[in-house]
Amino acid sequence: MSRPWILWLAALAPLCAQNIVIQNATIMTVTKGTLQGSVAIKDGKIAEIGEKVMMPFHATVIDAGGQYVIPGIIDCHSHIAVDGNINEATVAVSSMVDIKDVINPEDIAIYRALAGGVTTANILHGSANPIGGRTIVLKMRWGKDAEGLIFEGAVPGIKFALGENPKRPGNPPLLRGFTPAFPARYPATRMGVEDTIREAFNQAKAYKAEWDEYAAKVARGESPIPPRRDLKLEALKEVLEGRRYVHAHCYEADEILMLLRVADDYGFKVRTLQHVLEGYKVAPQIAASGAGASTFSDWWAYKFEAYDAIAYNAALMHKAGIVVSLNSDDAELMRHLNTEAAKAMKYGGLSEDEALAMVTINPAKQLGIDNRVGSIEPGKDGDLVIYDKNPLSDYAKVQKVFIDGRLYFDRDSDIAGRPAKALEKQKLIDKEKQSQPKPAAGRRPVE
């Protein structure tokens, strides 16, 4: 009876599956150049890279002859895997809500992102609020539950939004076609957006002072009643303390500068500017602030604030010394961030490594996870993607994706499994048809 054997091996597989050797490939490490050779993964982490590597215990060997290996792609702006509306648009400051509460690990977009080479994504609240909700970083570990997707140790974030989007609820007619009954919500202008942010931090400072006083009393040995926890202000307190990253959606140069100055005034840092399509106009100021910039490769003109967007934005900001990443903000676009990176070579003349960095090590740095992911270096997580061609070519296809050294996507398996899936579905459809009464209308003719 061979069955028990198979079961036993299958039980071992999860353990062994984290020891992998990918050999004969072109390995683009991003940070340490490109080489021909192999990469070994042991216990889920990158162990060794070189022309030849030591074979870890019981490693699965993958011959990637003629293929390319890059670090797993990191999308710094995504809204996938969320249950319900990505916006809590009813109030101007919604920092009490948390994307972490509504992770949907069964969103097929996760799998599709994997199939596009994405292994980590920064899942954000929408842009309907000057101060939006709390955000989270996920790994695309398809098949795990909500908790299992969370990127352990990644600093949590919060979403801010400047420009047209957060003002829209203040101007119901701007919600073209949607219900005009929506009551107007302050702010309706960019001035109001700034005021809203300042006011919120004003309150947050007072809240923080309350808690600092409480902590001081406790340190002195007293037992006061703690202040009331206010989730909205708590998130902003964490921003003030540097424990929560600010990811700010912004477009125009004026609002970018505005936020940098507000941050200075209140003593916090903007971690990333998102979209930042006019970032090239205030590049020196952004560089001085230390904020990262996460932008589109070539979106423009869909809104007035995007009218001056240029495809050279990433290159210009990069040249100014800003850490730049290219993101998707879209479940479809995230499937080909490799080609978005290639556009940075076309528009601005960046090198292969510079371009690839924009979807790997740069977003990793922006999210504070570059000690774990973003490049192929020993000690980092085994998050790797195998392409059949140079990933900066738009003819390239993702073949395999590893996260933590475990195979999460395999194009061949995906294709092989399709007939069975389709059959299974057809069976259910047929079964249901049989149990139903005959439909009233037959195949209707086209007159």
């Binding site: 916006n87 809590e88 509504v102 219900t179 989730l231 259910l428």
Partner: protein, 463 residues
């Protein structure tokens, strides 16, 4: 003429006379639920309670004897999540074996009695405005015995409902009601407060509506979390003040938080596996004993182990996913929705097998035929009949802490009984009589096919 008069008198007597307070159903098959099935036994009822059950149970003198030959006696069924008794409420919006209700039901009209949260003007600014929160309400205070659904549901064999003021986010606490035809609503109440009904969506609310915060699911969760944080803080402050009020600023009275603190458990909606996981974690975070309701995807292999891990009891909706009626033959059907329809009714059997405690609830079904068929579906899909019965009797009694007085045929328990010809939930079985608090009721005649909900032509209920 001579023969008519006594007959007439007898009829009048039956119609108007008080039901005898002592009765015995003799020689019936008795499904006690708490013990073995008795093939031929007697159930003695006195003063609304079961006095004795057994093959040789002594029948008191003067008792009204009902011949139970060929009949089966079951404990009265308990609907573990209902709105019956509050006529203004439709079925609990969330949990219906289907999708979230944002587009389905129109906003419920405000119930009479205590003011509920009206359509907000000005718009809700945030959690501090306590949107859609009436946590201090008890269903017991809103009962209207003239709710036509009472008779309909009772005719299906339900003697008891756990009725909740299911509206808004924190609608209030549910009450256990015996479906007796009484004048005073208070006479129906078995237990006035059994737990808070919490919803994470509202019909007509959301982006673009006038309802205000919260709009997104995460908004609801954040709001509920904030309420519980506030309640914890409120309790701290209140207790500190009670200990030594001198020199301390007096805390305000917050009836919403009082309501939350008064509740000993919460009901949370979960249909999809992802929602089950989410709600179980959430309840653990809030440190609230929770009962999940809905359970549409409970058939999935991951569901039972997850539920077992947390040990939370669950309420399974009887409103099974149905194939769309008159669908476009080429409309896209997801695999998940097909599986929901195909395997949904198999969930109870799987839960039983895994040892996950569960009960059924009507989820808006209030016609006897609908309810019977719904339970039968689960039985056909593999649930043992006795387990189906338990899911409608002793299990819900246990979940709500009233197993000492409801849910089985045992001496000392409330005399809620269903008497049938044939096995309960089979297609041709007829319910002969129902006893609520020891009073006999006849099932209302079935409305003719195509008639509206529960509009019985004749009053079929005997006193």
């Amino acid at each position: 003429m001579r023969k008519l008069l006594p007959a007439l008198l007898l009829v009048c007597a039956c119609a108007f006379a008080e039901n005898p307070r002592t009765l015995a159903i003799r020689n019936a098959k008795v499904v006690t639920v708490s013990g073995p099935v008795l093939a031929k036994a007697t159930v003695v009822v006195r003063d609304g309670l079961i006095e004795a059950v057994g093959e040789a149970a002594p029948i008191p003198a003067g008792a009204w004897i009902i011949d139970g030959e060929g009949m089966t006696v079951y404990p009265g069924l308990i609907d573990s999540l209902s709105t019956v008794g509050i006529p203004s409420l439709a079925a609990p919006p969330a949990g219906r074996g289907g999708r979230a209700p944002t587009t389905v039901a129109p906003p419920p009209t405000p119930a009479p009695g205590p003011a509920t949260t009206p359509a907000p003007t000005p718009p809700v600014r945030g959690p501090e405005d306590r949107p859609a929160t009436t946590s201090w309400l008890l269903a017991a205070d809103e009962i209207d015995p003239s709710d036509h659904r009472i008779e309909s549901v009772r005719s299906a064999g339900f003697t008891t409902t756990v009725t909740f003021p299911a509206r808004g986010i924190f609608g209030g606490q549910g009450s256990i009601l015996d479906l007796a035809a009484v004048e005073h609503p208070g006479d129906m109440v078995v237990v006035p407060a059994v737990g808070l009904y919490i919803a994470v969506s509202r019909p007509g609310a959301g982006f673009g509506s006038t309802a205000g915060f919260p709009g997104a699911l995460m908004g609801y969760i954040a709001y509920i979390r904030q309420v519980y944080l506030d309640a914890e803080h409120y309790k701290l402050v209140r207790e500190a003040y009670a200990r030594s009020p001198r020199g301390m600023e007096r805390p305000p009275y917050d009836r919403a938080l009082e309501g939350v603190l008064a509740s000993k458990r919460v009901l949370l909606p979960a249909n999809r596996l992802v929602e089950m996981d989410r709600m179980l974690r959430f309840a653990a975070e809030l440190k609230q004993p929770a009962i999940l309701y809905g359970m549409r995807e409970a058939y999935r292999p991951e569901a039972a182990p997850l539920l077992k891990k947390y040990g939370a009891p669950v309420l399974v909706s009887l409103h099974w996913s149905e194939p769309p009626r008159d669908p476009d033959p080429e409309a896209y059907r997801t695999m998940r929705s097909l599986e929901d329809i195909d395997q949904g009714p198999a969930a109870p059997a799987l839960l039983r097998k895994a040892g996950v405690p569960f009960a059924f609830y009507s989820d808006g079904l209030d016609q006897p035929r609908e309810l019977q068929r719904a339970v039968k579906k689960a039985i056909d899909a593999g649930l043992a009949r006795q387990d189906a019965i338990r899911a409608l009797t002793l299990s819900p009694a246990e979940f709500y802490g009233v197993a000492d007085r409801l849910g089985s045929i045992e001496a000392g328990k409330i005399a809620n009984l269903v008497v049938t010809k044939g096995e309960l939930f089979d297609d041709h079985t007829e319910i002969q009589m129902i006893f609520v608090d020891g009073k006999q009721y006849k099932p209302a005649p079935e409305p003719p096919p195509g008639a509206g909900h529960g509009a019985a032509e004749e009053p079929g209920v005997s006193q």
